[in-house]
């Protein structure tokens, strides 16, 4: 594990206990990860109801399989993100869901002090940005959300997406370029 993997610091003692079936230890892991996983799913689905439903499924699946989790393969948080990604991918495949992103339903961590008018303006900007991001392929959406919402390094994103750090860097640059093209096309309309 690299020192820059700040998002993937596993508490080995708690993890060992959870793997051996300790319910209290799993609760600690749940508390440590639930907000991150929820936030990731919320940005991928765009609505509170589905984000809550899928977050619940991630932790139910993790609970069912925790005894088979191999510590050496992938950090626990990354394992949860992979479960979340698979569930979100199924969710997108199963039906054409409407992307809502109702911002008023949420407390944005860094926007508590913003005055209402500014908040509305910011909400509109986020809605626009998310509408643009939604036009990208799934893997590129995942990359941007992990990088910006979850503040992950390319290495950490690579662990979740099962790609090398170099491949993520290259995908990131292609994503920015594509995002620029979509914005240009959108402005022309």
């Amino acid at each position: 594990m690299s020192p820059e993997d700040k998002n993937f610091v596993d508490n080995n003692d708690v993890l060992d206990r959870a793997i051996s079936g300790d319910e209290a230890a799993f609760s600690i892991l749940y508390q440590e990860n639930v907000k991150k996983i929820y936030s990731y799913i919320y940005y991928r689905t765009g609505n509170v109801k589905d984000a809550e439903d899928l977050t619940a499924r991630v932790f139910q699946r993790a609970l069912n399989h925790i005894t088979r989790y191999k510590k050496t393969k992938v950090p626990f948080s990354a394992w949860l993100y992979r479960i979340a990604h698979n569930l979100v991918a199924n969710w997108h495949r199963d039906s054409k869901h409407k992307f809502e992103l109702p911002l008023e339903d949420h407390t944005y961590i860094q926007s508590k002090s913003v005055i209402p008018e500014k908040q509305i303006e910011k909400s509109q900007q986020i809605e626009y940005l998310m509408r643009i991001i939604r036009k990208l392929p799934q893997d590129r959406q995942q990359l941007l959300i992990l990088k910006y919402v979850d503040s992950m390094s390319n290495r950490e994103v690579g662990i979740i997406m099962k790609k090398s750090e170099g491949a993520i860097k290259s995908l990131y640059h292609r994503t920015l370029k594509e995002l620029r093209n979509i914005i240009d096309e959108d402005e022309l309309l």
């Binding site: 319910e23 749940y30 907000k35 609970l63 407390t107 961590i109 940005l129 910006y148 919402v149 920015l176």
Partner: protein
Amino acid sequence: MNTKQNALYIEEQLKSLLHPVVPEEDFVSNLQDRLRKKAAIAIERKDYLVLILLVFSGLIFGVILFLMINGLVKFILKSDR
């Protein structure tokens, strides 16, 4: 704006607009309760599975024992004739 400036502008936009969202506290605590109950059910189910396995292995052992005794009886009867 050139390509590099474009990329920087988009990066700034992403950085300033995308922040983590926090779930409702009720949702977090309700889910934790549900997971606790599920864990308890999983442990009970595990015991139940062990019981089924024990009964099943007992049955197999019984069948093998029956076949062995049956074979032995047949062998003794054959050798008596």
